[in-house]
Symmetry: C2
Subunit: 273 residues, 2 copies
C-alpha cells in the first residue's frame, strides 16, 4: 500500500548494505523465525518484566488548548458505596495513539487489529542532536545508523524516536518549545524517514516522545498525512524511552477499542528480558 517516493533510493542503499550484512536481530528475548511473521512461523517474544512507557494523565497535562481533560466526581465514599468519576477528554491527550482515521479515510481506532498492537521496539536515540536543536528531525541517516549497529529493522517493529522530550512534560512551555511568536519547537520524524519505514521495511507503527509525529515547526504535518494515510498508526507523548534498550524489547499498545475513534489515550508497555 506504499506510495512510490524519493525515499526509494535511500532505501535501496540501506537495503544493499543489509544484504551484505545478513543482519539479524539477536537481542535478548527476541528470536525471529526464519520465515514470514504469520502463523506457526511467527516470531516468538519473551519477557520477564515491564517498563511503563505511559505518562500519567491529569487536567494539567500539556495540551495546546484548555479543558482537554477533566474529571467529574459522580459518587464519593463513604457517603456513597463507590468512588466514581466521569471523564471528559480530547482524544489526543496524554500518551495516546493516532489511528489512520485521524487524518485519512483509513481505519478508526477500534479497527486496528490486535496483532498490529505489539512488536519489536526499535528505539532511535536522537537526544544529542535534539538537545542542540529543538527542530531536530529523525532522518533516514538515523535509521541507517541504528541498522548498522543493531541489524535490519524487523517486520512488525514499532520505531520510536527518543528525543529526551518526555522529561520536559511538567513544563508546557518547554515541552512545546514555545517561542516569542507563539511557534512550536520540538523534534519529530522527517518525512523521508517514514517513507523509508513504509516502503522498505514492514513496520506496524511509529512513536514519539513529543506531542506530534511531525516536528513542532511544521505547519503542514507531512508525516501525519503520509504515515496515517498509509493506514498505519502512531503514538505520541510516549515516556521513558531512554530506559528502554535500543533493540530487544517488545512494545504492547493498550489502545482504546472505541467505535469510530480517531485515536485515544493508551497504556503503552515495553516488555523486557
Amino acid at each position: 500500500m506504499c506510495l512510490p517516493a524519493c525515499a526509494m533510493q535511500l532505501a535501496q542503499k540501506a537495503s544493499r548494505r543489509s544484504l551484505l550484512r545478513k543482519a539479524t536481530v539477536a537481542a535478548a528475548g527476541l528470536v525471529l523465525a526464519p520465515a514470514a511473521a504469520q502463523g506457526e512461523n511467527a516470531p516468538r517474544f519473551s519477557f520477564r518484566r515491564v517498563l511503563d512507557l505511559t505518562h500519567t494523565l491529569h487536567a494539567d497535562f500539556p495540551f495546546p488548548m484548555d479543558h482537554a481533560f477533566s474529571m467529574e466526581r459522580i459518587s464519593t465514599r463513604p457517603k456513597q458505596m463507590w468512588n466514581i468519576y466521569r471523564w471528559h477528554f480530547h482524544e489526543h491527550i496524554g500518551t495516546h495513539i493516532d489511528a489512520p482515521f485521524h487524518c485519512s479515510e483509513g481505519d478508526t481506532v477500534e479497527r486496528i487489529a490486535a496483532d498490529k498492537l505489539f512488536g519489536p521496539l526499535v528505539v532511535v536515540d536522537i537526544r544529542t542532536k535534539a538537545a542542540a536543536d529543538p527542530d531536530a528531525q529523525l532522518t533516514p541517516d538515523d535509521l541507517k545508523a541504528w541498522e548498522n549497529r543493531h541489524g535490519r529493522i524487523s517486520d512488525g517493529a514499532v520505531v520510536a524516536m527518543c528525543s529526551g522530550w518526555d522529561s520536559k512534560v511538567g513544563n508546557a512551555r518547554a515541552f512545546f518549545g514555545r517561542d516569542d511568536r507563539g511557534g512550536f519547537h520540538f523534534p519529530g520524524f522527517h518525512l523521508e524517514a517514514v517513507q523509508f519505514l513504509c516502503e522498505q521495511r514492514q513496520v506496524h507503527g511509529i512513536a514519539v516522545d513529543t506531542i506530534s509525529l511531525d516536528p513542532g515547526n511544521s505547519n503542514t504535518f507531512p508525516v501525519h498525512h503520509y504515515w496515517l494515510g498509509q493506514n498505519r498508526w502512531g503514538l505520541e507523548n510516549v515516556a521513558n524511552l531512554r530506559e528502554a534498550p535500543a533493540s530487544g524489547a517488545t512494545i504492547v499498545v493498550g489502545s482504546p477499542k472505541v467505535t469510530g475513534g480517531s485515536g485515544g489515550p493508551s497504556r503503552v508497555l515495553a516488555l523486557l528480558d
Copy 2:
C-alpha cells in the same frame, strides 16, 4: 495484607493437595523460574500471537444508566485537517478495570504498578453451571478443580471467570439477566473463592465476563469490598475468554493511567503461544 477468614480451612485443604502433587504450570509458553517471582528469578513469559479480550465500546454498550458513554465530534475532515472527538464516559463502562479505590481507600488506578498488570492467565470455565443457573458463582471448588487439572495457581496470576456471558453483550436485558421485578441475574465470584485467592495464593487480579465481580443478585457486593479492600484490582466485561486456554496464556492489562481514577476502560490482551 489478607484478612483471616473462614476460607482458611478450604485453602489449607487445597494447599495439602498441591504439596502432594508438586504441581507445576507446564503450559506452553510459560516457564516458571524456581524461586521468587522477582528480579533475575522472575518467571519468563513467551508468546507469538495475541487474543483480544476487549469488547468494542460505543454509546449502546450495556450499562445500568443512560448516557454512560458518548462522543462529541469537534473536528471533521476534509472540511478541517483532522478527525477528532471528545469522549464523555463513566469510568466503569465497557471492558474496564476496577481500581482498589473504587470501594476502598486503596490505590487509585494510576498507582497500580505496571508489574501488576500482567501475569499468567487462569481461565476457570463455569459455562455449564451458568447456562443452567444465571445466579451461579465461581466457588472454591471450581478453583480446586482447576488446580487438580492444571497445577497450583501461579504467583502473579490473574484468575478469570468464563461464564459465557460475553456472548449476550448485544442484548442488555439478557446481559444483565433482568427479571420482571427489575432484579439482575448473572454469574460472579463467590466471596470464599476470592478469600482463597487472597489468603492462599498470590494473585494480582481477578476478571469476569459480566458487568460485576459479584453475581447480579448481590445487593451488598462482598467480593468488591473484600477484594478491592485488599488493594487488589478486578476486570469486568472481559470478552472472548472461551477462546483462551485454561492455562498457559499471559494476560496484559492496558489500564488507563489517570491520576485519582477509580478504574477505567482498558485494552485487555492475552498473549498466546
